[in-house]
Amino acid sequence: MVQVQGAATVDRLRDEIQGVRYRDATTTFCRLVAEEDRPLKDMIQEAIGAAAPYVQVPSHLMRLPSGEMRGVNYDHTILGWRGAISLMGELGGKRGILPNIQAMWYVPQGLNVWEQVVCEFPGHYARDGEQCNRQFPGPDEHVNRFDGPAWKPPKIYFRDHDPIEDGSVEDRLIRMNWAISEGDKAEAYGLFLGLAKDPGARTRLKDAILFAGITDLQDTIINRGGYQNIGHKALRARALVDIADYLGWDNAHDLIYTVVPDLGCSPRLYGLWTEISNICRMEIPKHAEIPKRSDKPLTERELDILTEAIVWGGPFDVNSAIMGFFKRGAGILDVGDAVMVCFQRYLIDVLEHPNAFLHPTHALDYMNVVQSWTRGYDNPHQVKAVFMGARFMNDTIRSNAIYPRDPKTALEPRWNYRTWADGIAIDQLLGVLKRHVLAQDAPRSCALVDSYLERTTERHDLLDTITYAACHWQNDPHVMRNCSSSLEEYRHNRTSRRDDIIRGYVKHQARYVKRALTHDCYQVFAEHFQPADA
């Protein structure tokens, strides 16, 4: 173990986070938990608080000197924490700490996104996506200065505000949603802070912020560049709700500061929401009365029809298929479950290029927010959200399909390895699977999972193996977020095809492009927590 000088303190952690010293911050975080016995929950709260002032941007669209617009990425620090907190219980014990260490590793790299995309602040966007060091190298050509540390303090684009507490709860909820949709960040944030103080309003507040996030979604990403949000408003809302429940709402101020102002940030996109609202009003005027579950879930033939619409059809094919299911009496979650499994065929059968997973799996994570909102709250608009999720999935598939396929990224068929996989003893298979996920060998990983699913009804250890292997990859909160979405949806899915969620999950985690091919963060975790597999 590397000997670190000086005491591990929360002040030190804060300085290292804000100074973009992510390796140091991760080590300090580990020491605080493992050596100083500070509760993990408290340290997560401290880390969120250290980053909170520096994750807002003026807009997610930046006007360039030419007059054209470019997109500015969304904060991902909070999404890493949400995934990590969710996975803690899934993995259990010391292994469950790993996703939190990954979230910590990412936080200092994800500050000041606006400055990062113009190469004025270090972090993973500046280092990787923008390749800033090529444009603005430092004195040492062997050092990428955009890997950190920071050479100036991060910038605050949105200062903290006081709670707004005047008016009834009903009035303030309406004002908050109006403020979000009109882009009045200060009003929305102040109202949320005030409402969050009232435990009696909490369920309605959570429902309202999820509604606000879900309804803000682009109608297409095809050739739109940065004029989209790929579901990030919904993902942020979900992160807020889950993490606040974990930390306790009395401890959630910095979390709220991290999330809520961005809900009102530009662009705000209500085209798809308006379309779906209109067609529901015309075709299923009593959509608010549709039950969560019915005794008429989708038949196998209907699952095939929906798969065809989502994976190979166009937006109106998707509208038509889903409309038909609701009109003949299917429940909201019946259709939502079907959307989730039908989409998996795209992951399982079609996707090959490692970069091409990014947008479709954002749609999967968005659909997970829709489903969890439907499971946990009662809102008359939930039928519409199922359309939104399916349309988002279909659009990302169409967006990928508008690029000619590159034969150089073709994958070998999984069935080439089926005989090999069937020859591995069942009690050895998960160890082999872990190695092949870590080797990013998708055909063999998928063949192993196909074999396992047919040879045993055991699923917990299989999901655990895929998840733990996935959490070895650093610099990317998408990994943890998708893990938590896939596990949650698998657990709740009631279709006959729910194992397809596992097939899609392993393909994603064994193929999706990696931001780093080393496991430095895992090594820091292993040094401090000594998991059994280290």
């Binding site: 050739n223 166009g314 399909a401 508008i402 396929r405 590159d406």
Partner: protein, 125 residues
């Protein structure tokens, strides 16, 4: 004969009629592809760029077109096409890779054309 048996027969007749229509279409396409200049083929391939494509349904037919080009045009023509798109850099890399000789050899080796079939087993969509 049961209703199901009759339906199977009817469906097979419909399928055969569609196949005959498609075979005639493929033969027309084959003549057009063989007669086209390199410039005309370049223009055709350019319609698969994201900015010019009429939609995913069009772009998804890129690989069926590439398959037919490798089946119906000579190596010199394919090399000329590859050179054009390779020179355009990263945005056209997928197209250049599809026109590369090793990809052509792979496609030609895998294109099944049994003696009883009027056409090779081209991809439809």
């Amino acid at each position: 004969m049961s209703d199901d048996q009759a339906r199977l027969g009817e469906l097979w007749r419909i399928r055969n009629a569609a196949a005959a229509t498609l075979a005639l279409c493929e033969e027309q396409m084959q003549r057009a592809v063989r007669e086209a200049s390199v410039e005309q083929l370049v223009s055709m391939i350019e319609t698969f760029s994201p900015a010019r494509s009429t939609g995913p349904e069009w772009t998804r037919t890129f690989e069926p077109l590439i398959e037919r080009l490798w089946a119906w045009r000579d190596a010199d023509t394919m090399a000329a096409l590859a050179e054009v798109f390779h020179a355009r850099g990263m945005p056209w890399m997928a197209v250049a890779n599809a026109l590369s000789p090793d990809q052509g050899a792979l496609l030609q080796a895998n294109l099944r054309h049994p003696a009883w079939a009027r056409l090779p087993a081209f991809a439809l969509t």
